[in-house]
Each structure stands twice: as structure tokens, then as C-alpha cells.
């Protein structure tokens, strides 16, 4: 609010420009950015559309998960009821948790982020629009696969935490656990894809002048969430792959008799599972930090404090996982450490809560419906946080762990910390999504029913747990003192369900036929309110330059000047979808990012991947392999249409005074995308290393072969060849940087050949190693290491081949030198992991004095 001069200076700067004819400009933009109808709707990649799909699909899964909860509460209303038999009840609580976590909470928040973030940071779309579509279809198909198991009555029934050995092939034969492992891993691909995309979009596509220090707090929250997804999901992906290998192929990672350890699953699961809680909480808190200052009519207090809190929450949350395992029997010192760490996370959360309080206190609050949900959030979340601190105390945890006390705590944290802010956000952005205002009467009914119902259900549930009622029981005896609290919880559950039904009704009715929303109806400060409501697929006719944290408060006429085309990047006659590529820190314009348009590849790639999953589930590995190859082919074909390919950007020229297209530079979003992908990949690899060292040192019956099976000379040769290829590629790129592409193609062919040699060496080394992966966890883990390395080398080789082919076609040259850099990242990563694997598999055992 300090810079009231800004609009004037904008005026001066652009004053001379003739105004564009608004209608004509809109039509031109829509011709390039528009979403097709009919069957071609499956080709849509636009973030506004994809964000909406995510939110609608998430809402459907929320209703499914909620109905499961209602069934459980009906059974538990009275003691001794068994109209739901235990094998169905176990499916219900497993799927309730699974659906709410993986199919509702994470995707719907990602949907909000995919929808809001580009608009908030003044971009026209996300950095990788086709990846958004792929993520959505993976989510949709994975969700459908999981729901199929529910319909067939063979849904997973070992709890959403899938503890081994209960979930292994001995104690859970059949397909139920496979549905979980394969379906959830498929869905996690979608989550990680969205995570990568959001990181890169926030870092590289902010509008001109939006520095890191001035970007909206919501972007900070989403950046933290996305990085947490990138680091947090891979441990579970790895754990699931290992468990599926154990179930399907008998590799004993978690079988204690063959040198595995069921506790390894718990470590990997909670290494994901605890960050997951904050992955859900942070974006929700970001919603609060976005809407609360708007209704307090002042900037958020303590921007820096909040940013530091968000970052430290993200860090600390990776150091807490053992507090889910205090009763497993791990060493006391470790318990003490994780206990203290768990309490420390209260500090950043406390800072945010008091920063919100200070914002309200020193502002001039107005009371609108979103604020109602914000208050509900605060009360519920504070209680959930406090019981969380209690649970961090080991001697108390030993009593209430795995009781209804924890059920109550967790719902206070997740419903309070995620659902209430989400609804606050939905009410807040509803005028943006639909162009119409929500009601006040129905909205109040909805809130109060939900709030009262929630507390009725879960407040008393703390007592139920203290009275000793364990979790995950389908029925209970009378005479335990649990009758009345359970009845209260069930009644409350139905009141809450009624409240949620009213909220949904309110949003749907008013979304269809509500009062038309004015422009920026809440007088908000962030850029998403400068678009039309509902927004056009291109978001902004022109991309504004911003100078402060609150663009619409500082330049209130931005909606008009943007629509009039008074700001940057207005040319559209070239037919490219474009947005600014800016410096990650300073927000200075570096290049124009040209984005791909509507495409069938994401849909069909996801479909092929879904067939692969179905093939794995049905254990028809021929189909799985064929589908995997088809998917790879489709993805490569998709990648083919990049850079200077005619379908991407045939014409590399930009208007006078504009920066170059990103595909003509040495930097671009794809490079960042590859970097962040490798972070996720690295997290998976670190989890595998952790598993190896963990089993080696902790597994109760760890077994070593008498002498090493590994054929170390071949493996050593393989792990030396990869870095050689890396250095070779670096040399090619150095020449490219110097403007010399004379021997580029030839060099890339050589690189591919070297990759082939490396793959052959690895296969030979594996072959000669005579591992028996079904016998011991030792050999099983080594096998996974070799598979991992081989997969990376093979992909590196394929990438080199493709680059050579593209160089031949002229898509890669000194004019378009960008793609080999991506491949170099992958080669470098593969080289490092290959060498680390060699050290871990061959050198570490020597040092340990073992085999």
C-alpha cells in the first residue's frame, strides 16, 4: 500500500501504446489457448481446467470416503453390533483412510494450487501443462482401479498403513493388498508430477518484478508443500515397490526369517507418512494466510516470520516420523530425540497462529463466510495441535497410542487443519471459479452443523480412547464404559455429514445460479483477482509488472489495464502459448517460455500406464510389459514434440525488445523440471540406501552369504563407464556453449553407444553374480540396486539416442542447445548413483568385515 504511484508510472510507461480491441484480442487469445469440446476435451492441458478436474474428482472421492465413515459410525453407535462383518469393516476403515489421504486431501489441495498458483504469480499457465494433464489422468485411473476393488468386495483391508507382515502374501493372500500397493503408487506418480510442476512454476514463471521476497505467501506454502511431496512420497513409492516385489516375486525385504525386517516398512512408511500430514496442512495454512489478511484489511503480519516458519516446518517434519513408532521397541535415546523434535514443530505452527492473530488484532476485520471457517479451523486445529504435543510425550503415548484418542487427535489435525481451511478457501475462491457469490444463510447453516457435529464426534472420542478403546475394532463389548461416548460420536458424525451436505448444496446451487460476482469481490490483494471471473484459459491479456507483495492494493486498476493489454507479452499472432520465464530470485525477465497446446499424449500415456498397473495386478506380466513399452513409446513421442519441433514452436523469432524463447537458451523450465525430478529420484535412492544399511545393522536375523556373490570387476567397469559418458557429454555441451555444433550428432551417437556398452556390462555383471534374491533379504536388496542402476543406464542410453536423432533432424543445434543439458543432468545423476551403489554393495561389506 506504500506505492500508490505505481499505477501512474505504469500509465506513463504504456500510455503511448494504442489500446487493443478487447473483444478481438480475446478471440485471438482463445484461438490459441482455448479448450476444445466434445471428445477432444481429453486433450485439454490448461491449468484452470485441470485444476477444476482435480477439485471435482477430489470432492467425489471425499463423498465416497465420508460415506464409508458413516457406515463405520453406524456400526459403532451401539455395542455388540455386527451387521458389518469384520472383513468388510476392515476394508471400510482401510479405504476411508486411503481415500481421504491419497484420493481427497492431497489431490484436491494440489487442484487448488494448480488452479490458483499461475494466476497468483501472474503467469498464463503452469510450466508443464501436459504434465498436469498426465498427473490428472494417473490420479483418475488410479482412483478408478482402487474403487474397483471396493465394488468387487476385495478392497485392501490391512489398514491404510499396510504394516507388514499382515499385508504380505502369507497373511493377506489374494489381490486386496496389491490393489493398494499398485493403485496408490500410480496415484503418487500424479502427486509427484504435480509437485515437480508447482516447484518449477513458482520458481521460474512468476511475472516480471515478483521477487522471492515479494511473492504471495500462498506461493511459499505451495513451494514448501511441493518440495515436501518431491522428497516425501518417494520413500513410500520405494516401500510399496519392495512390498509388491515381496508379494509377487517372493523377495524377502520384510520377512524376518530370511533376514528382512517388518519394521523397515514402518520406517519407510512414516518417513513418508509424517511429512504427509504437513503436505496436507501447509497448503491449507497457506489458504488461511491468503484470505485472513484480505478480511483483516491489512497485509499479513510477520511475512518473514511466516516464511521461515513454513520452511522450518517442512524441514522438521522429516525428522519426526519415529513418533508414530514409540511402541515398536526402538532405543530410548532415539525415542527421546524424536519426542523433542515432535514438540519443536509446535514452534513454527505457533508462530503462524500468532501471526494470524496479530494480523486480525491490528487490522480492521470484516466478517464474511470464509472467516467463519477460519475461526472453526483455529479452534479445532489448536486442540489438535495440543493433543499432538501430548502424543509426542513417550510415557503418555504408550498409553493412548492406537486408541481412539489418536483417532480423535488426527481428525482434529486433519479436519481442522485441512478441511476447514479448504472450505474457507472454496468459499473465498468460489466467485473466481464460478463468477457467482455463495449465499450467507445456507453457508451459516452448513458451517454450524459441520462445526458442532465435528466436535460432538471427535471431542468425546478423546475420552473413548482414554477409556481404553483400541482403534480399528469393528465392534466392542457392552460394559466397557464405551457405550455412551460412541453413541455421541455417531450422532455427531451424522450431524457433521448433514452440515457437509448443506455446504455442498450451497456451493453447487450458488455456483449455478447465485448472484453475479463483482470484479475482486473481497477486495483482495493478489493477482488471481485481476483475471476475469470465471477466468479465460489464458488468464491475462497482458502480463503486469509488479513491485510489491500486494499488487491489487498497490495498483487497484490492474484488472482493467491488464485486460486492455497495457502490460507485457501481448503479441499472439505467432500462435504460441507464451508466458514469462523469470529469474527465480529477482523476478527479472530472462526468456519467453513457450508452452505446449492441447495434446492427446498425456491421456494415452496415462491409459497405457493404467494398463500396465492392471497387468501387474492380474499378474499377466506380458500385458504389463507390453503396456510399459507402449507407455515409454508414447512418452518419448510426447517428448519429441518439444523445443524446436514444428508442433512446439516452429518460428523461433520474437518481437523486437522481447527476450528469446526458452528453447533457444541454455536454461529453461525443463532443466529445472529435470533437476526437481532428480531430487525426487534421489529421495527414492536414499530410501533404498537407508533400507540396505538399516537391514544390515538392525534386522534381527540378517544373513550374509558365505562369500560375496557379486562379480565385482564387471560391476566396477560398469560404474566407471557411466562417469566417462558424463564427462564426454559435458565436453559436447561445452563445445555447444562455444557455438560449435559441428560434431554434436556424431558425439551423441558415440554417447549412446557407450550407454549400450554400460548396460551390457551391468547385465553381464548381474548375470555372473549368481544372486538368489528369493532366499535372503541381502540378495534381494542387491537385486533391486542392480535393477535401479540398469534402468537408469538404459534410460540414459535412450535419451542419448533420442538426442542424436534430434540433432540429425536439426531440433538440437547451437541455435537450440537446451536439451542436451537435461540429458546431462540424468547422466550425471546416473553416474553418481552407480558409483555410490558400487561403494555400498562392494566396498562397504569389505570395510564391515563381512562377506
Amino acid at each position: 500500500m506504500t506505492d500508490h504511484e505505481a499505477p501512474l508510472s505504469q500509465e506513463r510507461e504504456h500510455g503511448g501504446k494504442p489500446l487493443l480491441d478487447a473483444a478481438e484480442q480475446h478471440n485471438k487469445l482463445v484461438r490459441v489457448w482455448g479448450n476444445p469440446g466434445g471428445l477432444r476435451v481429453l486433450t485439454v492441458v490448461n491449468h484452470t481446467a485441470i485444476g477444476r478436474y482435480f477439485m471435482i474428482t477430489g470432492a467425489v472421492f471425499f463423498i465416497i470416503g465420508g460415506l464409508m465413515a458413516m457406515l463405520m459410525r453406524t456400526q459403532l453407535a451401539l455395542p455388540g453390533q455386527d451387521w458389518i462383518p469384520p472383513h468388510i469393516y476392515n476394508q471400510l476403515f482401510t479405504m476411508h483412510g486411503t481415500v481421504m489421504m491419497f484420493l481427497f486431501a492431497v489431490p484436491i489441495l494440489e487442484g487448488v494450487a494448480l488452479y490458483v498458483i499461475p494466476k497468483m504469480i501472474g503467469a498464463r499457465d503452469l510450466a508443464f501443462p501436459r504434465l498436469s494433464a498426465l498427473g490428472y489422468y494417473c490420479y483418475l485411473f488410479g482412483g478408478i482401479i482402487l474403487m474397483t476393488s471396493v465394488v468387487l468386495g476385495i478392497a485392501p483391508d490391512t489398514g491404510w498403513f499396510m504394516y507388514t507382515p499382515l499385508s504380505d502374501a502369507v497373511y493377506t493372500p489374494g489381490l486386496s493388498a496389491d490393489f493398494w500397493l499398485i493403485g496408490i503408487t500410480f496415484i503418487e506418480i500424479s502427486a509427484v508430477a504435480a509437485g515437480i510442476e508447482l516447484v518449477v512454476s513458482i520458481m521460474r514463471t512468476r511475472t516480471e518484478g515478483m521477487t522471492l521476497q515479494t511473492m504471495p505467501l500462498f506461493a511459499w506454502y505451495i513451494l514448501a508443500m511441493s518440495l515436501m511431496i518431491v522428497f516425501g512420497f518417494p520413500p513410500l513409492i520405494l516401500a510399496s515397490i519392495l512390498l509388491e516385489l515381496e508379494r509377487a516375486a517372493g523377495l524377502p525385504f520384510y520377512d524376518v526369517l530370511r533376514g528382512g525386517d517388518p519394521i523397515l516398512w514402518q520406517h519407510l512408511f512414516w518417513l513418508f507418512g509424517h511429512p504427509e500430514v504437513y503436505i496436507i496442512f501447509l497448503p491449507a495454512a497457506g489458504i488461511i494466510s491468503t484470505i485472513l489478511p484480505v478480511f483483516a484489511r491489512r497485509p499479513m503480519v510477520g511475512y518473514r516470520w511466516v516464511v521461515v516458519s513454513v520452511i522450518s516446518t517442512a524441514f522438521i517434519s522429516f525428522g519426526l516420523w519415529v513418533h508414530h513408532m514409540f511402541t515398536v521397541g526402538i532405543p530410548q535415546l532415539a525415542q527421546a530425540f524424536f519426542s523433542v523434535a515432535s514438540m519443536m514443530v509446535a514452534v513454527p505452527t505457533g508462530i503462524q497462529i500468532f501471526a494470524w492473530l496479530a494480523t486480525l488484532w491490528t487490522g480492521r476485520p470484516v466478517f464474511e463466510v470464509p472467516m467463519l471457517w477460519t475461526i472453526g479451523f483455529l479452534v479445532i486445529f489448536v486442540i489438535g495441535g495440543l493433543t499432538g504435543v501430548m502424543l509426542a510425550l513417550v510415557p503418555f503415548n504408550w498409553q493412548v497410542h492406537d486408541t481412539h484418542f489418536v483417532v480423535a487427535h488426527m481428525h482434529y489435525v486433519l479436519v481442522g487443519g485441512m478441511f476447514f481451511p479448504l472450505v474457507a478457501g472454496l468459499y473465498y475462491w468460489w466467485p473466481h471459479l464460478t463468477g457467482r457469490m455463495p449465499s450467507k444463510v445456507l453457508a451459516h447453516w452448513g458451517f454450524w452443523l459441520t462445526f458442532v457435529g465435528f466436535n460432538l464426534t471427535f471431542l468425546v472420542m478423546h475420552l473413548t480412547g482414554l477409556l481404553g478403546m483400541p482403534r480399528r475394532v469393528y465392534t466392542y463389548d457392552a460394559g466397557m464404559g464405551w457405550n455412551w461416548p460412541n453413541l455421541v460420536s455417531s450422532i455427531g458424525g451424522f450431524v457433521m455429514a448433514a452440515g457437509i451436505a448443506v455446504v455442498i448444496l450451497d456451493l453447487v446451487l450458488h455456483g449455478l445460479a447465485g448472484r453475479r460476482a463483482r470484479i475482486n469481490p473481497w477486495q483482495a490483494d493478489t493477482l488471481e483477482w485481476a483475471t476475469a471471473t470465471p477466468p479465460a484459459p489464458y488468464n491475462f491479456v497482458s502480463l503486469p509488472k509488479v513491485s510489491g507483495r500486494h499488487p491489487l492494493w498497490e495498483q487497484p486498476d490492474l484488472p482493467e489495464t491488464i485486460a486492455e493489454g497495457r502490460h507485457g507479452l501481448t503479441s499472439i499472432n505467432h500462435g504460441r502459448r507464451e508466458t514469462w520465464g523469470t529469474d527465480p530470485v529477482s523476478g527479472r525477465i530472462r526468456e519467453i517460455i513457450h508452452l505446449p497446446g492441447n495434446s492427446w499424449w498425456p491421456f494415452f500415456s496415462a491409459l497405457a500406464l493404467a494398463f500396465m498397473c492392471i497387468g501387474l495386478l492380474a499378474k499377466v506380466y506380458v500385458i504389463a510389459l507390453a503396456a510399459a513399452l507402449v507407455a515409454l513409446g508414447l512418452l518419448l513421442r510426447w517428448a519429441w514434440e518439444n523445443g524446436t519441433h514444428p508442433a512446439a514452436a516452429p518460428d523461433g523469432r520474437t518481437a523486437a525488445g522481447e527476450p528469446p524463447l526458452h528453447s533457444r537458451t541454455f536454461d529453461g523450465p525443463g532443466l529445472w523440471g529435470m533437476g526437481v525430478t532428480l531430487l525426487a529420484n534421489g529421495s527414492l535412492y536414499m530410501s533404498l540406501l537407508f533400507g540396505w544399511f538399516y537391514l544390515w545393522t538392525v534386522a534381527p536375523q540378517w544373513q550374509l552369504p558365505e562369500h560375496s556373490h557379486l562379480h565385482w570387476p564387471l560391476l566396477l567397469a560398469a560404474s566407471l563407464l557411466m562417469p566417462l559418458g558424463w564427462l564426454w557429454l559435458r565436453r559436447l555441451i561445452a563445445r555447444l556453449r562455444a557455438g560449435d555444433d559441428a560434431r554434436l550428432q556424431q558425439g551423441l551417437w558415440w554417447l549412446a553407444l557407450l550407454g549400450c556398452g554400460q548396460c551390457l556390462l551391468l547385465i553381464a555383471g548381474w548375470w555372473r553374480s549368481a544372486l538368489v534374491p528369493g532366499d535372503t533379504a541381502h540378495d534381494a536388496v542387491i537385486t533391486v540396486f542392480l535393477m535401479y542402476t540398469l534402468l537408469h543406464c538404459a534410460l540414459a542410453t535412450v535419451m542419448a539416442l533420442m538426442q542424436a536423432w534430434r540433432a540429425r533432424r536439426g531440433y538440437v543445434s547451437r541455435l537450440a542447445p537446451y536439451e542436451p543439458l537435461l540429458v546431462e543432468y540424468w547422466w550425471g545423476y546416473s553416474a553418481v548413483t552407480t558409483m555410490v551403489s558400487f561403494a555400498a554393495l562392494v566396498l562397504w561389506p569389505l570395510g564391515w568385515g563381512g562377506a
Partner: protein, 321 residues
């Protein structure tokens, strides 16, 4: 009016306490570990309630609609105080206080060395029952736990199949029973009494029904009980036909001291003392939870099954003393 008020005041705490009672209530502790945990709870409950009320009141106060803003200087001062005081010092201070009480409390629950060596009991879980073994007395029983009151007991817990968790809420915290590992849980009952153990880790279909009675005896009673379990097996041999029928049909899974060694199912040496209607169970268990792999004995003639059950009952009952 005044009387009603007084009555409420007098009885409300009693009602409240009554609401806290129950066979598995952690709020009705019967041993030092559970007592400590309950005390921790009440302390934390009071502080947490105060914090919740305080934050909510602050928040509602701050939200009251108004058109005036605090003066800038005053606002900055307030912001700093709120963030540093509420966000930094409050959680840090609370954690320090909590740990000051919590660390000694946790320490007191650990199975540390004592002057009097604790009694060792080994509990091994299966889907969905418990095997209870007293290594010193060489006694094995199932689905019942007996212990002496007023003396520390180390329960060594493990599992033969999936992960279970051993928990006697009125005596103390729980400990997971993990295949391949043995965890030790120190428990102690202050007074004689009957409590309830409950499996606390989800273990499959029979999880809800995986509980057993836990009886704390006075020391002499406990020794007497233990001695009973060690009774000579002679009388079981008195009816050789039935003993051999048992051997033929039951011994593969069940141990019966002096008769058979089977290990997959519960040891039946003292089954008559824990169950009065063996025949009823044998014929009806398929219809009742928890699920068990025991056969439904359809291949036996009804008379023969009744004879074996009757013999088993008689020869394993607690003697009348």
C-alpha cells in the same frame, strides 16, 4: 435452587470420575506406570484447556468488526509481542515444562534393574490369541495372565505371526509384539484385582476380540496358582482310551502336559480352569468370533467329541482347595 446447585457441585466430580471408570480405562489406574500416565494426562489436559480457551478468546476479540486501526507504533509492538511471546516462547516453555515432568515419568516406566528381581513372564501373540509362559516355573497357559500384585513384572512380548501389541491399560502402557524381536514391558499391579489386556495393534480379522483377563493376586495366592499349574499329569493318564483319542485328534496342534507337545494352538494343560464349557466351545466356535483355525470337529462322532471334552475338562480343572 441453592440446594440443587450444591448437589450439582458435590456430585459433578463424582459423575465425572464415574465416567472415567471402566475395565480398560487408563484414567482408573491400578499400577504405578498407569498412575503416572494418568497424572500426566490430567496435568496436560488442564494446561491444554487453558491454552485453547485463551487463544480462542484472543482470536474472537481480535475479530470483532470495527473500522478503527491501532496506531502504527502500538500495532508493531503488539505484533512483536504476540509472535515472540505466543509463537516462540509459549511452545518452547510448554515443551520444557512438559519434558521436565515427562522425562522422569518415562524413565520410571523403563525395565531398569531393581533390588528385587522382577518376575519374568513371556507373552507370545498369534492370530488371535496369547500364549503366556512363566519360564522359572515352567508353566505355559493361554489367554489369561496371572501376576503377583505389588511386585514388578517384566513382560517379554513377541509374536509368531503378524505384529500385535500387548496392553493392559489399567496397569501401564503398551508394547508392540513384533515377530523376530522381543520387547520388554515393566508392569506392576498395586493391589490384587482383575484387569483386561487388549491387543492394540491391528492384526486382522480377530483383532477386536483379542483380549484376555489379567488377574493380580496376592503373593501367596499367586504362588498357589502357579503351583496348581504345575500339577502332576498322572490323572490324565487314568483313562488311557480318552488320552489316546486326544492324542489322535488334538495333539498335532495342542500341548497337554504329560500327553502331547503340539505348538500351533494354545497349551491345554489348564484349559479346564479357564473355560467351563469346552464342549460348547468346540461345537460352536465357528459361529463365534474371533476366527480360529481350529477344526469344527465334524469328523468326530458327537459322542466321542463329548467324551474327549468331558475328559479334558475333568483332568484340567483347578482342584477344589
Amino acid at each position: 435452587m441453592r440446594i440443587a446447585f450444591n448437589t450439582v457441585f458435590k456430585f459433578a466430580p463424582l459423575l465425572l470420575l464415574a465416567a472415567c471408570d471402566g475395565p480398560q480405562s487408563t484414567l482408573q489406574p491400578a499400577g504405578p506406570a498407569a498412575h503416572t500416565a494418568a497424572l500426566l494426562w490430567w496435568g496436560m489436559f488442564i494446561v491444554a484447556t487453558a491454552v485453547t480457551v485463551m487463544v480462542t478468546v484472543f482470536w474472537l476479540w481480535a475479530m470483532r468488526p470495527r473500522e478503527t486501526m491501532l496506531p502504527a507504533l502500538r500495532a508493531r509492538q503488539l505484533q512483536k509481542r504476540l509472535i515472540i511471546g505466543g509463537g516462540l516462547l509459549l511452545p518452547l516453555g510448554a515443551s520444557v515444562v512438559l519434558l521436565a515432568f515427562g522425562i522422569p515419568a518415562g524413565h520410571s516406566m523403563l525395565p531398569l534393574a531393581t533390588d528385587e528381581p522382577p518376575l519374568r513372564i513371556e507373552v507370545t501373540a498369534r492370530q488371535w490369541w496369547w500364549q503366556v509362559h512363566y519360564p522359572e516355573a515352567q508353566v505355559t497357559t493361554a489367554n489369561e495372565l496371572h501376576l503377583p500384585a505389588g511386585r514388578p513384572v517384566d513382560v517379554h512380548v513377541s509374536s509368531e505371526d503378524v505384529i500385535h501389541s500387548f496392553w493392559v491399560p489399567r496397569l501401564g502402557g503398551k508394547m508392540d509384539m513384533v515377530p523376530g524381536r522381543v520387547n520388554v514391558l515393566r508392569l506392576s499391579a498395586a493391589e490384587p484385582g482383575v484387569f483386561r489386556a487388549q491387543c492394540a495393534e491391528f492384526c486382522g480379522l480377530g483383532h477386536a476380540h483379542m483380549h484376555m483377563p489379567v488377574t493380580a493376586h496376592t503373593e501367596p495366592d499367586f504362588q498357589r496358582w502357579l503351583a496348581q499349574q504345575q500339577r502332576a499329569p498322572d490323572e490324565r493318564q487314568a483313562e488311557p482310551a480318552l488320552a489316546s483319542a486326544f492324542r489322535e485328534h488334538c495333539s498335532e496342534c495342542h500341548a497337554l502336559r504329560g500327553v502331547s507337545q503340539g505348538g500351533a494352538g494354545p497349551d491345554l494343560t489348564t484349559i479346564g480352569a479357564r473355560r467351563t464349557d469346552i464342549l460348547g466351545w468346540l461345537t460352536q466356535h465357528a459361529q463365534q468370533p474371533p476366527p480360529t483355525p481350529a477344526p469344527d470337529h465334524g469328523q468326530l462322532a458327537p459322542g466321542q467329541l463329548a467324551d474327549i471334552a468331558d475328559w479334558l475338562q475333568r483332568s484340567t480343572e483347578a482342584p477344589n482347595d
